[in-house]
Amino acid sequence: MTLPTTIRRVLPQLVALFVILALNTAIAPGFLDIAFANGRFYGSLIDILNRGAPVALLAVGMTLVIATKGIDLSVGAVMAIAGAVAAALITSDHSLAATILATLGVGIVCGLWNGALVAFLGIQPIIATLILMVAGRGIAQLITEGVILTFNDPGLVFVGTGAVFGIPFPVILWVAIGIAASVLFRTTALGLLVEAIGINRRASSLAGIGTSALLLAVYAASGLCAAVAGIVAAGDIRGADANNAGLWLELDAILAVVVGGNSLMGGRFSIAGSLIGAMIIQSVNTGILLAGFPPEFNLVIKAAIIVVILVVQSPASQTLFAFMKSRPRSEEDAAAPVREPEKEAAR
């Protein structure tokens, strides 16, 4: 096969996505229809792209964090904080630019806090980010003073519900941020350095990689993505709901990253894979609704997906796969012992 490595890497995810979309089409015949009305596209496919935006945005940052063998549980709470900050600033008559910049800044600060706990205090990422996950919603409620802050600013509403050339703005946002992150990390050495930290942080540090600075940057990037997702979620409902904004989305984001073929053990990552993972999750959600199942099935199916991925990814089945793959080759080797040096070279 002569497929480029980037495509070959996400091939299983693409196949899975197409299978789910085909199933959805079989269930609901009008699934693939896309209509153009009121200056924007409508249809189930567009809806999947649009509804999956917050998880896709979170998944970009989460991919980088997981690549360093970390995890960021606080992204849902950071979304709530970002939504609250944006709503509070815009309702107290700040300009749109100032509001968005300040909100993104708050997201970065939240990320830096997590990063500092991981990089400087050496706390396990799951625990370090748990602190902000617990306290974050309290902070968000402190900002909104316990009410759902509503706003009508057309600019902020546009981020959540607007459309450019008929394509919903949240979709453009996650595609653009996904491409920007891929370019930044894959055309430079940054991606390699992040993977090195995930494989062995101490060794990377000894090899001269600025692990602390990189960890800070990666968690800050996750905070920034969460802030963008927070603005999208707030703009979508024209208000900041400190209790429910981004609730349990951290788990969906982690699931998207894992479905995208990234190992939770870190050391390698594919942002494209995670984005496709986010779309797979959203397609399953939509498919369940289209099939007329109660939405309650969602959780059971998500659990089933995780179990399947776990079984496939587990070291035990990896050994089994390797064993089944190596068997025909070893027979070949037995038939033609001349090829021994070649095998040696392959090692």
């Binding site: 799951i126 625990i127 309290g138 699931l255 099935f297 995780i306 776990l310 587990s314």
Partner: protein
């Protein structure tokens, strides 16, 4: 001089006494047996679940599924005893068997698939919550005689406070947890795995059996917590107890258990629960503070305890390093 092993527990104890003294100075009524009785009753289900979480964290793992298991237990009991007409005692035994088997399955997956407990129990969390939804999405009231009897069962303390049945159940679970952790070979195995899994394996600790038992115990106690919760609310609701796993983890950490595993006490978890309950009670007494301050204060406490633990680990590593140089 207190050993570094006991130091986090001692800190928790001092913080609890200081916090209670501060509350008492402001509201003298805080020391009444009524408040203490309510403190135990209100946090009973969380305390029972947190004892299970203590074992999981002592072994170096984590269990995210307990909130969902509590909700599943409540809904299962409400529906089987109500519509199903199953005798209450049988329903309770059945649900405990189901949750224990569920935990054992998660433990088996963690061990045999060699996957992080975090992601396995995340799947468990989705699954248990989904199953609860599938049974019923409504809040189902529980009206059986057994529940009325148990709810009316309490021990009157001097001063008019009531030690309710669920409060007593929590204390009993804590005592049982202490006995299991410190006086059985299972308890020693849990500490050994949490301290160093590889060494434990080389020493002949049955890793597979212990891992499965740890998660079975955690889910069993989550089931028990679900029963306590349904006694407390007289209903089963599939959206109940969302995020309880985080409260339980917070209580365990505030109780001085090391998150990397291998060091900590079940008694500390009880103190952690009581500190969290105390914060809530203070906010109720004060009346002007909003409930979200609970989350912020718990977050701050979590941070200080984790920082304290890191400091202790750093200090002991330095001491060991200093001792190693002259040798």
């Amino acid at each position: 001089m207190i050993g570094s092993r006991l130091f986090p527990l001692a800190t928790t104890f001092v913080i609890f006494i200081l916090a209670y003294a501060l509350c008492y100075a402001q509201f003298p009524n805080m020391l009444s047996t009524r408040v203490i009785g309510n403190l135990l009753t209100d946090n009973a289900f969380l305390g029972i679940a947190a004892v299970g979480m203590t074992f999981v964290i002592l072994s170096g793992g984590i269990d995210l599924s307990i909130g969902s298991v509590i909700a599943f237990t409540g809904v299962f009991l409400a529906v089987t005893m109500g519509e199903g007409g199953v005798p209450p005692l049988f329903a309770i035994l059945l649900v405990l068997a189901i949750t224990t088997a569920f935990g054992a399955l998660m433990g088996a997956m963690i061990h045999y698939l060699a996957m992080p407990p975090f992601i396995v129990t995340l799947a468990g969390m989705f699954f248990a919550r989904g199953m609860a939804f599938l049974i019923s999405t409504d809040s189902v009231p529980i009206r059986v005689e057994l529940y009325d009897t148990l709810q009316d069962l309490y021990f009157r303390m001097p001063g008019g406070g009531r030690l309710s049945f669920v409060g007593m159940a929590m204390l009993a679970v804590v005592v049982a947890g202490i006995v299991i952790a410190h006086f059985t070979s299972f308890g020693r195995n849990v500490y050994a795995i949490g301290g160093n899994r590889q060494s434990a394996e080389l020493m002949g600790v049955p890793i597979a059996r212990t891992t499965i038992l740890i998660y079975a115990l955690s889910s069993f106690l989550a089931g028990l917590a679900g029963i306590a919760f349904s006694l407390y609310t007289s209903a089963g609701y599939s959206l109940a107890a969302v995020g309880v796993e985080l409260d339980a983890i917070a209580a365990v950490v505030i109780g001085g258990t090391l998150l990397t595993g291998g060091s900590g006490y079940v008694a500390g978890t009880l103190l952690g629960i009581l500190i969290m309950g105390l914060i809530q009670t203070y906010i109720v007494f004060d009346g002007t503070l909003s409930s979200w301050w609970t989350k912020i204060v718990i977050g701050l406490l979590l941070f200080s305890f984790i920082a304290l633990q890191r400091g202790l680990v750093w200090l002991s590593a330095r001491r060991r390093g200093a001792a190693a140089i002259p040798a």
